[in-house]
Amino acid sequence: MSHTSDEMMTIAAARQLRAGQVCFVGIGLPSTAANLARNTHAPGLVLIYESGTIGAKPDHLPLSIGDGILAETADAVVSVPEIFNYWLQPGRIDVGFLGAAQLDRFGNINTTVIGGDYASPKVRLPGAGGAPEIAASCREVIVVVRHSRRTFVDKADFITSVGYGSGPGDRERLGLTGAGPATVITDLGILAPDPESRELRLTHLHPGVTLDQAREATGWDLAAAPGLAETAPPSEHELAALRALTTATPATPSRGNQGGG
């Protein structure tokens, strides 16, 4: 089966998750990827949505983080203060999925304003939602975002959620308990931080994508990690499971980061 680059991205994200992990999920691509993982190789994956649903087991993709299907299938539904204070803040969550309007070379995320200054921005984005504390407290963070120069910037106009700050040691100095953005999944490939410099570099290219294409779509001088590999193409099983999920649900745009209403 042929596949789209968005399908490759979603499947690559799903593969990052393992059964038994606890995953904090936002709507859009993260929710699709997490539910795909749960429907394929990670049946015991625990999904937490910031609306307070713990262990949701939706049989179709929820249309908002407050979809009724989440409450109805959850092991427990708790208040919003509880989900942040008792469940996210102490570091109980293995994986947090985030999107980004801008992602910089150190994995810092902007979902607040672009251009101008804060008080009179060129573009006003939705804002932080749950992302700053997800980025701070999950054991690791996976960022899922389409690859473009508009998004992959040298320096974010505004740091909404901290990745590696300005480099090594910053998370520790700030007292951020989680490990930060361990993986960035795009429609072109997969990035991970250099263990020394914390700068994001390319570890995988999706099938048919060239290093030049990825560099062209990145606003800094993107390095390839040693042993740069090709992502395994989607299997028929993965594609079928993904399409079963998405055809059961109207498409939702993917720009949204954590948040909802």
Partner: protein, 276 residues
């Protein structure tokens, strides 16, 4: 004890120009009917407070009811931008909108402090972000036992807190279930409160997952069947996803927005909410 009154009366009595007003409902039970009544009553200079200022605040902002917004995520969930919100921030239309911006964890803890009679809350949050520099309402605080530095945010005690729930009894005890979000905290943090409900019943039979807010902690209860549409009230109405998508087109243009409000809010019978 909460008094059961018509929605129009409750809003007229509780909400005054210049008040801080929190209409909450996290992804569920969003009090649209009450928001529309505020628009109809032409309130001005409100400080609107809400974690997720979605369509209902886009409408209030677009109609010029607000001078300030305190929030943590302002988007059309699952769709994209709030165009009226963006127009106010980017172009000051129809009026400039001052922003005070937080994270969800920060806002949730501010309500918790407000409900708890404390002046502030402590959390692990905001550290390293540019959010810290934009408001005086995010400050460092040091643990007196470990010396660790954390973040403090001040309590929110809005003049008026408004939420929607599934049911109330005639005495004004309120019951809600499903995703209960931040509703209890908002009612308890507010100086005055209004709960709109799908129905008023003789007795609140116990339900799995339900919480009850006792009547004596609420100012007014008003019946507003369908009052959370196009959001939903679990067990009563379903989310109108098409309307959330349609809103993107309606709100993108100032004129189509005004026409929609005129037809669906201003000309709608008082006490009745027509959103889709």
């Amino acid at each position: 004890m909460a008094e059961v009154v018509p929605l129009e009366t409750a809003v007229a009595t509780l909400v005054h120009d210049g008040d801080s007003v929190a209409l909450e409902g996290f992804t569920h039970l969003i009090p649209f009917a009450a928001g529309h009544e505020i628009i109809r009553q032409g309130r001005r200079d409100l400080v609107l407070v809400r974690m997720t200022p979605d369509l209902i605040y886009d409408q209030l902002i677009g109609m010029g009811c607000a001078s300030k917004l305190v929030f943590s995520w302002g988007g059309n969930p699952g769709v994209g931008s709030l165009h009226r919100f963006r127009d106010a921030v980017e172009h000051g239309w129809p009026a400039p909108l001052e922003l005070e911006e937080h994270s969800h964890a920060g806002m949730a803890n501010r309500y918790v402090a407000g409900a708890s009679g404390l002046p502030f809350a402590v959390l692990r949050g905001y550290r390293g972000t540019d959010l810290q520099g934009q408001t005086a309402n995010i400050k460092p605080i040091t643990c007196p036992f470990t010396g660790e530095e954390l973040t403090a945010v001040p309590a929110i005690n809005p003049d008026v807190g408004i939420v929607h729930a599934q049911r109330a009894d005639r005495a004004g005890n309120v019951q809600l279930w499903g995703i209960t979000g931040i509703q209890k905290e908002v009612v308890l943090a507010a100086r005055r409160s209004l709960v709109t409900v799908e129905e008023i019943v003789e007795e609140l039979d116990p339900r799995p997952g339900a919480i009850v807010i006792p009547s004596w902690a609420v100012t007014y209860v008003a019946a507003a069947p369908g009052g959370s549409r196009p959001s939903y009230s679990l067990g009563y109405t379903i989310r109108d996803n098409d309307f959330y998508v349609a809103w993107d087109e309606i709100a993108r243009d100032r004129e189509t927005f005004r026409v929609w409000i005129d037809e669906h809010v201003l000309r709608a019978g008082r006490g009745e909410s027509v959103t889709a």
